[in-house]
């Protein structure tokens, strides 16, 4: 007996001693957006191939690991996979937390087979919602300036209008959720597409520079795809709430955003609501900039999963803006009411050949009212302008698997834009009533103008060994018409001062666009890509039909031209990528664009067309100005993501000239006195070279992340003489922020922008109306963002 007891005791001690030599890993996996635990996540530890899955609380445990180096792989359908290295020590159980990001490709049926292409032969940038939430994003156009070679036209405190590599306005295709586009009401672009979307609703932003992504619609200079939160099915009925509250000191600005996401397997939903109230900000000189605004709105989405791999989502949104001030424009945005309806159907893995099907149809209505009623000069004439802009459209696409190495997308899209707007002037500056009445002038800005576009597109992708090829074509039929472009004098009988009849406004074009790109992997870490694209866009509603309004950066009223030809961009891109596990990644892109039929303004002498306002220099009509070119580069370097100390350095440059353009001459009184033709004048509104540095350090397993940012922008001396541009000065801006993630349910981000309170302005900032002074950027501003997941 004693011998048996001794033997048992010996064995017990032996096993105990062995067990003490082992270690393990445990942890919890959550959804980074909602903070909720994720069940059934695959957890795999190698070497040894030891696996498990998370329980209902998102917890997992893998024990019995010998001391040594391991990697842990966290994988769940619909989320981006995480792989992490760790070391096992004897008798230690390492505790880890993983917050999984939703896989954007999974959200987008159209992108679900994008994995055939690893290295695009053109510049494609994807910004995730984490990056958006961690900044005090009061405006998407403002936030996009974080991307190299994206700048924005600032006319006030909000609603900045993105510019990509010098391409702007309708040269860009800015859309929501793969194909939905909204038409702003304002001819002065107070309300670009980005202003009709709440930043808190954004899951990701895709930016494709150049005329290459032809699947998304007619494009000339680039595509910005704003992907909003979509509801998704849950295994069991659940409701998750997320709230985000922010404050910015300089603007005395507050904003709130709430997201409610929930549902079950068959029916699911999301609701988001937002409210933002911002005051005027002070620039670095302490001067107040008239920049206040108020925005609020909500979006409801209802999803159905009628069968496996099939989803239907109905969306309804209302967005409102009130009292948005634009010191560079003659009016402010008083009311902007946007309503959006859309129906989306997506399906994937239909058969071996048909991988994806998607259909989208939508209708967007913008009711935009602007006025001069907050301006001193409203005492002369109280002017109110109202514009109704409707846009409806559709997009259908089938993704085909046509071989082991190739995919093809085929689809159609179309849209109709309708605009009608007027301007009423109550002439209260008149010394007395005329004919017994205070005079009221009624003028059209647009007169029931319509543009229709029908497109067909196909894209082919091929990947074999070291080669990746992408080719796409699109064909568009574009037609436009309007009621007469007229402006009647107050004489009796009234005289039409413009006189373009409705029949003379009709135009139609067939545009053929094509792009092709090839990428060659030089080795596992390095690739080189080359792309050529020819993107054509038909003239916009503004360029075709606007009736005498100052819409440019110069002080002229513009007149539409129904006979404009489409504008074409022929662009070559070269892209080099290098990724090294220990050294980091480098990406260098160069581009060269040859533009045909560049659209700009040509001066009309007063004998041909007099302006409506005395404060402008005259009238310009939109015309095709001939050839132009643009070229530049982007460079980015980032240290490996797993290093606690991270650095990111970017630089971007664009230049552009127009082959021949008319330059006006002015006399001492500032009136037009003559003109001459100039060769190779600089194109206007092109930002100068800029360099950005971002340094961050992760502490306590990324719970605390301090970050320092520096931005250096050179002076812009290459200005357009034809547009009477003014040179801008160089500047440096520093920022600091601190991200603290207390737990998956609460994070706080605080920081300061423009730490040194520098007085500076971007080259693309417009000048304050009637002056040569640019709108300065905000001075020092402290901010705090609180993010709750309930």
């Amino acid at each position: 007996m004693k011998v048996r007891i001794l033997l048992f005791t010996f064995l017990l001690f032996t096993f105990y001693a062995k067990a003490q030599d082992f270690g393990g890993v445990s942890g919890v996996v959550t959804d980074s957006k909602s903070g909720t635990p994720i069940e059934n996540v695959e957890v795999l530890v190698n070497p040894g191939n030891k696996g498990t899955t998370t329980n209902a609380e998102g917890k997992f445990e893998v024990m019995g690991l010998k001391p040594g180096d391991y990697t842990i792989l966290i994988n769940s359908m619909g989320y981006i996979q995480i792989e992490k290295s760790f070391a096992v020590k004897p008798r230690v159980v390492d505790n880890m937390t993983f917050a999984l990001d939703i896989d954007v490709k999974e959200l987008l049926a159209v992108e679900i087979v994008d994995d055939k292409i690893e290295n695009h032969a053109y510049s494609k940038v994807v910004l995730k919602d984490n990056a958006i939430q961690e900044f005090p994003v009061r405006d998407i156009g403002d936030f996009l300036r974080e991307v190299p070679n994206i700048s924005a036209v600032r006319k006030g405190g909000a609603n900045l209008d993105p510019v990509i590599r010098g391409f702007k306005f309708d040269q860009l295709n800015i859309q929501l959720d793969n194909g939905l586009r909204m038409e702003g009401g304002c001819p002065n672009r107070m309300d670009p597409t980005t202003s009709h979307v709440e930043s808190g609703d954004i899951e990701a932003i895709e930016v494709v520079k150049g005329p290459f992504a032809l699947r998304y619609g007619p494009v000339m200079g680039g595509v910005v795809n704003l992907i909003t939160l979509n509801p998704r099915p849950f295994d069991n009925f659940q409701v998750h709430v997320k709230a985000n509250m922010g404050y910015e000191s300089n603007w005395n600005g507050m904003r709130q955003h709430i997201t409610v996401l929930g549902g079950g397997q068959k029916v699911f939903f999301s609701f988001t609501g937002n409210n933002a109230v911002y005051g005027n900000y002070s620039d670095g000189n302490g001067n107040m900039v008239n920049s206040e605004f108020r925005k609020f709105g909500f979006t409801g989405k209802l999803g159905f999963a009628p069968a496996k791999n099939h989803r239907i989502i109905l969306t309804y949104s209302e967005f409102y803006a009130r009292d948005v001030m634009f010191p560079s424009l003659p009016m402010d945005e008083r009311d902007d009411n946007t309503k959006l309806y859309s129906l989306d159907y997506t399906a994937h893995d239909i058969s071996d050949v048909i991988k994806t099907i998607s259909w989208k149809s939508y209708y967007a209505n913008v009711d935009h009212t602007m006025d001069n009623l907050s301006r001193g000069f409203s005492d002369t004439a109280a002017v109110v302008s109202n514009i109704i802009a409707d846009r409806m459209g559709y997009r259908g696409e089938v993704g085909l698997n046509i071989g082991d190495n190739s995919h093809m997308f085929v689809g159609v899209d179309g849209y109709r834009i309708m605009k009608d707007g007027n301007r009423d002037k109550v002439m209260i500056g008149q010394p007395r009533p005329m004919m017994g009445k205070v005079p009221v002038k009624h003028e059209d800005l647009w007169n029931d103008a319509v543009i229709d576009n029908y497109g067909f597109f196909t894209e082919y992708r091929y990947n074999k060994k070291l080669w990746e090829l992408v080719g796409s074509i699109r064909l568009d039929y574009n037609s436009a018409s309007s009621d007469s472009i007229s402006l009647y004098s107050m004489a009796k009988p009234p005289v039409d001062l413009i006189g373009i009849s409705a029949d003379d406004t009709k135009s139609s074009y067939v545009n053929f666009s094509a792009s092709a790109g090839v990428t060659r992997k030089l080795n596992e870490d390095m690739s080189l890509g080359f792309s050529f694209g020819r993107g054509i866009r038909s003239p916009s509603m503004l360029e075709r039909f606007i009736i005498l309004l100052p819409t440019g950066s110069d002080n002229y009223e513009y007149l539409g031209n129904p006979n404009l030809k489409p504008e074409t961009n022929n662009e070559f891109d070269l892209i080099f990528k290098y990724r090294h596990a220990k050294l980091g990644s480098v990406e260098v892109t160069g581009f060269y664009s040859l533009i045909q039929d560049y659209i700009g303004g040509v001066y009309l002498p007063p004998s041909e067309q007099r302006p409506l306002m005395q404060s402008v220099l005259g009238v310009k009509r939109f015309e095709n100005l001939g050839g132009a070119k643009m070229y530049g580069f982007e460079l980015s370097y980032g240290t490996p993501a797993e290093y606690p100390l991270r650095a990111r350095l970017t630089a971007a440059y664009t230049a552009g000239t127009i082959n021949e353009v008319e330059v006006l001459e002015y006399n001492a009184a500032g009136k037009v006195s003559g003109k001459h033709i100039m060769k190779n004048d600089n194109l206007g509104e092109i930002p100068p070279l800029e360099v950005n540095l971002n340094l961050s350090y992760s502490l306590f397993n990324k719970q605390l992340v301090p970050q320092f940012t520096a931005r250096y922008v050179l002076a812009q001396k290459n200005v357009s003489l034809a547009m009477q541009e003014i040179e801008s000065e160089q500047f440096t801006v520093l920022g600091f922020r601190l991200l603290y993630k207390l737990n998956p349910r609460f994070s706080v981000i605080g920081g300061v922008n423009n730490m040194l309170d520098n007085a500076y302005y971007e080259h693309l900032n417009r000048r304050i109306l009637g002056t040569d002074s640019f709108i300065y950027e905000p001075g020092r501003s402290f901010y705090v963002n609180l993010i709750f997941n309930i």
Partner: protein, 129 residues
């Protein structure tokens, strides 16, 4: 249940964001005339109204009040044959919420129509936001 309550509160909060702008009280006021005069003004709907006022005495005040939204154009014009060139008593004004927004204590000019001299006073503006 807690989440549903939060959801309901959130909907109410955001729905309440859509409040209309507050109306303000506008007064057109004329006082100090001893003889009939013509007054023209823009009403709340933007229509020009012209009427003749016969004061009972120089202390008889003509006043018109209405509620208006910010941004409403205001216009008040008086044409009088009474010689007010040396009058210290008359006052014409636009008042917003009981405070003077525009005020005249002197005439702006004179005009001769059909051989008759008329004194004119005009004040205008926009209800501020």
């Amino acid at each position: 249940m807690k989440k549903i309550f939060i959801f309901i509160i959130a909907v109410i909060v955001f729905a309440s964001c859509q409040k209309e702008r507050d109306l303000v009280k506008v007064d057109y006021m004329i006082v100090g005339f001893g003889a009939p005069y013509s007054v023209s003004y823009l009403d709340v709907n933007g229509a020009t109204i012209t009427t003749t006022v016969t004061p009972k005495g120089i202390s008889d005040k003509w006043k018109l009040s209405f509620l208006a939204e910010p941004g409403t154009p205001l216009f008040l014009y008086v044409k009088s044959q009474e010689d007010i060139s040396n009058s210290m008593s008359f006052s014409l004004g636009l008042m917003i919420n009981g405070k003077y927004y525009q005020q005249a204590k002197d005439y702006d000019g004179s005009i001769t129509m059909n051989g008759q001299l008329f004194y004119e006073i005009k004040r205008s503006g926009v209800v501020p936001f």
